[in-house]
Symmetry: C2
Subunit: 282 residues, 2 copies
C-alpha cells in the first residue's frame, strides 16, 4: 500500500539544493533561517541541508529548525571516499558525520567519488570504497548517524561515482555489512533502471532516503538541469511504490538542481510549486 | 580465448565519426575516398559510414572501399523509431536499410530514440519499439542486413534512447525474436555496467557489433567528449572478453566523438594513433 500524499504533505522534505544552496552564488541566497520558516509556513515537515550552509552553526541551526516544527532529515554530504579527489585522511568524512550529529540529522548522504587513479573499470575502486566505509560506519553509528550510499546516473562515472545502480550500492552494503549503512534512491539517477524494482525487493530496511525530481525529456546539462516532479518522463509513482515496498516510510526529499529554471525563481514560489506537485504527481 | 591484436589489426574498423563525419562541419572534412585509402594504407580492414556521407553514392562507395581492400562493416544509422523525433512512417527506416544493402554493409545500427510523448517510464516506449522492429526486421532480412540495437548510456534517456543496458536491448530482441536483430556493445555506453558480463553470457550469436573508445575520467560533454582507447577508465580488455565470450568474432569499431580533441587533429595522425592503441591496449 503506497502512501497517499494527495491531501497530506507532511512527509515532504526540501533539499535546499532545490533553491541552489549546494553551490556558491546560485539561487536567491536566502539565509538558512528564512528557508526554515518558509518550509514551516507551508507545512513542509523536513529539510535537508548542505554542509556549506551550516559552517560552525550546526547545533544552532538544528535547534532552530525543530523549534519551527521542521525536522532535519539529512545532510549532504561526505567528501568523496574514492577517486582522484578523495582526501586520503578520514578527517573530513568524520567531520561530516560530526556535523550531521550536531544538526540532529538522521542521515548523511554519500556520493562515493570516481574511479581511483591508475585503475581501470570499477572493481578496485569499489573494494577501496568498502574499506573506507568499514571504518566510517562505526564512527557514524557511535553518533547515531545513518549513512546513505547514493548511486548516480552512469554519466557521472569517472570523477563522481563508482556506483551506478541500486544493485551496485547494495553490493557494497553487503560487503561492509554495517547496520547503519544503506542507500538513497534518487529519481534522477535511477529512473531508467529496469532492474530497480528487483533490486529494491531485496533492500528491505536498507533504504534510508528517497529523492524526488524528474528527468527532463531534453536534459541540457549533466548536472544542473533537473526537472520538477511532473515535468519529465520518470515514472514517479512506480519508483515510489518500489521504494516503499522495501519498507521505506521516511521523508520524500525534493532535490532539483536547476541553474537556468528553478534557481532563477522566487524561492517562495518554488516551494509552493513543490508542495503542489508533491501532492499531485508523486 | 580472447583474440590477440597486439601484432594484427586486420579486425580494426574505423567508424568515420572518429574523424567527425557524423556531424556537418566537424573534423577535417576528408572526402570518403581519401578516408578509404587512408584506412587501406594502414591495414585497417573495415570501415563504418554515416548516412550523411553516402547520399546517393552507396553502391559506388561500397565498391570503392572493397576495391581498396576495406570491407564496409556497417552503417550508422536508422532514424529514431520511438520518441518525439521518430518519423511516423517506416519510409526513412527502410531507406536506411536500402542504403546499407547498396553499400554492401553487413550491419545497420539502431539508436532507438527516446521516451514516447505522453508516457512515463520506459515500458510503453519499449512496446512500441518492439512493434516497429517487428516490421523492420523482415524488411532488412530480405536485403541481407542485420540490425544492431545499441543501448546508450543512461544520460541519453528522454530524447535519444529507451534502452540503457545490454540486458534492456536483449529483452527487446527476445520480444521481437527476429534472427537478424541483435545488439551492438559500445564501450562508451556500457563500461559502467556491473551486469554486462552476465547479460552477454546469454547473448550468444546476438552480438552484431563491438564499438571501442574510452570513458574519460573527466568527461566534459555528454555527446562529444569521448576518449581514445587507453586514455580513460574503462576496462577495455574485460569488456572485449565478455563480448567475445558471446561468440562475437567480427570487427572492432573505433568510434570516438571528440569535438575538442581528436576532431581537431590531422586525420592521418588520428588513424595512426588508433592503430597503435588498438594493438596496445584493446
Amino acid at each position: 500500500m503506497v502512501r497517499d500524499f494527495t491531501a497530506d504533505h507532511a512527509a515532504l522534505a526540501l533539499n535546499t539544493a532545490t533553491l541552489g544552496h549546494n553551490l556558491d552564488g546560485a539561487g536567491a541566497g536566502w539565509p538558512v533561517e528564512r528557508v526554515i520558516d518558509a518550509c514551516a509556513a507551508r507545512g513542509i515537515g523536513h529539510i535537508v541541508f548542505w554542509r556549506r550552509e551550516i559552517g560552525a552553526r550546526a547545533v544552532q541551526i538544528g535547534n532552530r529548525a525543530r523549534a519551527a516544527g521542521v525536522q532535519v532529515a539529512g545532510l549532504c554530504r561526505t567528501p568523496y571516499l574514492v577517486g582522484r579527489d578523495a582526501p586520503l585522511s578520514d578527517d573530513d568524512a568524520q567531520a561530516s558525520v560530526d556535523m550531521a550529529a550536531a544538526l540532529g540529522a538522521a542521515v548523511l548522504t554519500i556520493v562515493t567519488g570516481g574511479t581511483d587513479p591508475g585503475t581501470k573499470g570499477l572493481a578496485e575502486s569499489r573494494r577501496r570504497l568498502a574499506d573506507r566505509l568499514a571504518r566510517l560506519a562505526p564512527y557514524a553509528a557511535d553518533r547515531g548517524i545513518k549513512l546513505a550510499l547514493e548511486p548516480l546516473n552512469p554519466m557521472f562515472g569517472g570523477n563522481r561515482t563508482c556506483l551506478f545502480t541500486t544493485a551496485d550500492a547494495l553490493a557494497v552494503c553487503d560487503a561492509v555489512a554495517a547496520p547503519n549503512l544503506g542507500i538513497a534512491v534518487d529519481v534522477y539517477h535511477v529512473w531508467w533502471d529496469s532492474t530497480l524494482a528487483a533490486s529494491l525487493a531485496r533492500a528491505r530496511g536498507r533504504v534510508f532516503g528517497h529523492h524526488l525530481c524528474d528527468w527532463l525529456e531534453n536534459t541540457n546539462d549533466m548536472l544542473l538541469d533537473r526537472g520538477m516532479m511532473g515535468d519529465g518522463v520518470a515514472d514517479l509513482r512506480g519508483i515510489r511504490a518500489a521504494v516503499e515496498g522495501a519498507g521505506y516510510a521516511g521523508p520524500c526529499e525534493v532535490e532539483v538542481f536547476s541553474a537556468r529554471n528553478w534557481w532563477t525563481r522566487d524561492p517562495g514560489d518554488v516551494l509552493d510549486v513543490m508542495v503542489q506537485r508533491f501532492r499531485q504527481v508523486c
